[in-house]
Amino acid sequence: MIELRVNGQSHNVSADPDTPLLYVLRDELQLNAAKFGCGLGQCGSCTVLVDGAPTLSCVTPIMLLEGRQITTVEGLGTREEPGPMQRAFIEEQSAQCGYCIPGMMMRAQALLQRNPRATDAEIRAYLEPNLCRCGTHMRILRAVKRAASMMTGPDASPTTRTPVPASTEVGTSEIDSDAQRDRRHSEKRERPER
């Protein structure tokens, strides 16, 4: 039995000590966010934080992690109370298939926790290890910038969670209206004469 501390909670896991963290998170702890993308440390889909540093969980055997703090996307917030990084990705609609996104979020979270005022160039350079095949890069960059501004606002911290109103998602919540207004304002649509 190995004790792992994940998102602030202790778990006694029965997996063999040489099992990569990714499979323990997904199969034993039933956490969905960290994903299997390659198992080779090449794509970043499995990224989590270990003591605040971005770590590829697919090549990290759990024997190395006793006493360390592991954070996954589930530790950044919930659907009802998303954290700033999650809110930013929702507001920017920063996903197509969404498979790479949790890895992107954790990588970005590590950056902003260390450097909340990261520049565009620094964000781009920092995300280099993470692959996105759908081409959502522009939105991911916008979401990270948005998360940074949320995290550096007054009373904000990298982990402040904001409750989402009950009638959520679409057209009714404050968050969504802002996003929709932003988008309508930035859209250039032409309505030709009919």
Partner: protein, 731 residues
């Protein structure tokens, strides 16, 4: 609660009778169908829309959410015409027990076919409800209108849909025409409604087939042969069976798999099994690809042959040959499926693009009746066409068939996805055209050489498991997809006005490398070639590339898109290319019948390092009636970025025996370092016009724009993809 638990997904079918056509949908849109969209093959309204006694509204589509946002878009369509709040509609997607058969979610048909069907079905359901309310209220239908889930009548009479429905009310045949809402009054269509799936995906919700966990589920890994056609010579599995956690080792001919209790145990057993398996291979992969393709026997289809006397004689004639290598889908999440055989029924959770075709193929493979095989679509990572999804489903089903009552999860490894997915075919195109003294094209000859772009199930033999098992199924004969859709000849017919033109599709049957559909099929290559050639002609004629294109375009929507993209980019104000900077333009109407898209970019090319930096990109798109503008924008942005990756870096590599590009170290793709500095998309909205699919519209124009920008920057033309560092340094 885990929303993807078995009970949840197999829960009963609800208040109303469902019926839907059992005849499979044809690949192309039904010729001669009078009913709009997919209603033609599935005319019963309650196959599409269901209203429960408690007012809950469920819509059904045979299409699947692939990450392109159609779950949200189709929900918008239903909510709009049915006059209900968006969040009151839930959408059931591709499930052989619950939804109609709409073939594959492919070809950018989802919005065109399913969206059109759902829009009309919802409108007709609304009118049925109004008619029923009129009957009960003893009023005229004209005095009533629908609003927010109820029918409102004179004197504030109000009857909710829940009160109106009875068990057979919606068991009606669809009509050819519907009373569709005036776009001026749209509440949710053409609005950037946030996608319903994103909040779950960013907060750890279960969203993908990879997230399915069933009680008693076992983990399986396949050991694939080292190359196509390899034969398993010898195998001693006794040590593997003794490994911790291993439940079974399965060998069926050349199909080899291991099943274990825990996932990592399965992986370790797979590695051990791989080491003891001995295979005999044969060298069958070609070298010198373009020459090889041109040397294959071909079936030639002349898809355009028109002659008209030219107004002016030909002055300059240009010829060019363009090539592209095999391309990988490269799905970030390797394919996965869960299969469970219980009480004689095989249930498969899969991210296949076609649950019905995959079901047919798998049932043929297993020798089961199709109605005993149940395929349910659950999202995978982006597939961009026919990737390993169908095969993973077959693997899981084959394993499960010998292990009844135990759910089997098969997860492909990265190397297996890269090595075994069907690739986008390598292609060659040859163009020849002449200009007159005024810079008009007076003759045009174009030929494209390509394998088929679809080897989808279909027959069982299209599945790897079926090809590898002892009682092997033969690989089916490839067939070309006829025009106007086309396969290798998709978009081989330019939209330009060319009175004197011949276009030939050289269909190559021999497939040394496994191939099938990759996003936009042949359009990517044909648009790259045609748009590069248009630029070469423009340069030869001393004409601005945009002006040159407009001089040959009569389609007014095409002209609008070209003009809009140029305007978005400030094309006419661009500086003279200098210091390694260049500008490029690319345009096409996808399949000449879906969305119009033009892409413009500014790049900087470093001839010493071979690096291309994409600086500014502007695009314009006309996708007919827009359902979700943000969804359109997302697809165009994504298509451009993916197309840039293909064009700058990608090509499947192989030696004489094996595919060698088997992971990200051997098949590098675009990373953040190559992302453009800015990218804007202008949507030309056409309210009231038919929906046009836009999911594949940017692939060709973006690669073309890049190639043209690189030529503009360097003064030299590269006609072979990818435009990688080696080719640029060699200029």
């Amino acid at each position: 609660m885990n929303i993807l638990s078995r009970r949840a997904v197999l829960r009963g079918t609800g208040a109303l009778v469902l019926s839907f056509s059992l005849t499979p949908a044809a690949w192309t849109q039904g010729a001669g169908a009078k009913l709009p969209g997919s209603l033609g093959k599935n005319p019963s309204l309650d196959a599409w829309i269901r209203i429960d006694a408690d007012g809950k509204i469920t819509a059904f589509t045979g299409k699947a959410e692939l990450g392109q946002g159609i779950r949200t878009a189709l929900t918008q369509v239903v909510a709009e015409e049915l006059e209900v709040p968006f969040e009151q509609v839930s959408l059931v997607t591709a499930d052989t027990s619950r939804t109609v058969d709409e073939g594959y979610t492919a070809g950018s048909h989802s919005v065109q076919d399913s969206g059109t069907a759902l829009r009309n079905a919802a409108a007709q359901v609304r009118e049925i409800l109004i008619a029923e309310a009129a009957r009960r209220l003893k009023a005229l239908p004209g005095q009533l209108h629908a609003d927010t889930g109820a029918v409102i009548g004179p004197n504030s009479a109000r009857v909710t849909y829940a009160e109106l429905v009875s068990s057979n009310l919606l068991h009606a045949e669809a009509q050819p025409t519907s009373k569709l809402k005036d776009p001026t009054f749209f509440k949710v269509i053409d609005k950037p409604i946030q996608r319903v799936d994103i909040p779950g995906k960013v907060t750890g919700g279960a969203a993908y087939v990879q997230d399915i966990r069933l009680p008693g589920m076992l983990h399986a890994r396949v050991v694939r042969p080292p190359s196509a056609g390899a034969k398993l010579a010898s195998l001693d599995v006794s040590n593997i069976e003794k490994m911790t956690g291993v439940v079974k080792v399965i060998r069926d001919g050349n199909f080899l798999a291991v099943v274990a209790y825990r996932e990592f145990q399965a992986i370790q057993a797979m590695r051990a099994l791989s080491r003891v398996a001995r295979w005999s291979e044969s060298a069958s992969l070609p070298s010198h690809l373009p020459a090889f393709l041109l040397g294959l026997p071909s079936q030639d289809f002349v898809i355009l042959d028109q002659h008209a006397a030219a107004a002016q004689p030909a002055l300059k004639t240009l010829e060019a040959t363009y090539t592209r290598p095999y391309l990988s889908h490269g799905s970030v999440g390797p394919s996965c499926a869960v299969a469970h055989l219980t009480e004689g029924v095989m249930t498969i959770w899969t991210h296949t693009q076609g649950v019905y075709p995959d079901r047919r193929a798998i049932s043929e493979m297993l020798g089961m009746s199709p109605d005993k095989v149940h395929c349910i679509h659950v999202e995978g990572s982006g597939c961009y066409g026919h990737n390993g999804a169908d095969d993973a489903a077959a693997d899981a089903a084959l394993i499960a068939s010998s292990m009844p009552d135990q759910p089997i999860r098969v997860q492909w490894m990265r190397e297996q996805e890269h090595g075994w997915e069907p690739h986008g075919p390598a292609m060659v195109a040859k163009a020849r055209a002449s200009l007159d003294s005024a810079g008009h094209i007076v003759d045009w000859d174009y030929g494209v050489w390509s394998n088929t772009h679809t080897m989808r199930p279909g027959p069982a033999g299209s599945l790897l498991a079926a090809q590898h098992m002892e009682k092997a199924f033969p690989v089916p004969e490839p067939e070309p997809i006829p025009q106007p859709e086309g396969g290798g000849d998709r978009n081989a017919l330019p939209l330009y006005v060319l009175p004197n033109a011949k276009v030939t599709h050289h269909f190559l049957r021999q497939m040394p490398v496994r191939v099938s559909a990759l996003r936009s099929l042949g359009a990517h290559m044909n648009v790259f070639a045609i748009e590069s050639f248009m630029d070469e002609l423009a340069v030869a004629g001393g004409l601005d590339p945009v002006v040159f294109r407009l001089a040959h375009l009569e389609d007014s929507r095409a002209r609008d898109v070209v003009t809009a993209a140029a305007d978005e980019f400030h094309w006419s104000a661009r500086a003279t290319p200098a210091g390694g900077h260049g500008y490029g333009f690319g345009f096409a109407r996808y399949k000449n019948l879906a969305a119009y898209c033009a892409v413009v970019m500014q790049v900087h090319v470093d001839r010493d390092t071979g690096r291309i930096r994409v600086l500014r990109v502007a695009a314009a798109v006309d996708t007919g009636q827009v359902i979700n503008p943000d969804g359109v924008r997302n697809q165009i942005e994504g298509g451009i970025l993916q197309s840039l990756s293909w064009a700058m870096f990608e090509g499947v590599t192989f030696d004489s025996t094996r595919i060698t590009s088997i992971d990200w170290s051997t098949y590098p793709i675009l990373r953040f370092g190559s992302v453009p500095e800015s990218l804007t998309v202008r949507i030309i909205d056409r309210p009231g016009t038919p929906f046009l699919g836009c999911g594949e519209a940017a692939q060709g124009p973006a690669t073309a724009a890049l190639a043209n920008a690189v030529a503009n920057a360097t003064g030299k033309r590269i006609r072979d993809l990818p435009l990688n560092a080696a080719r640029i340094k060699a200029l």
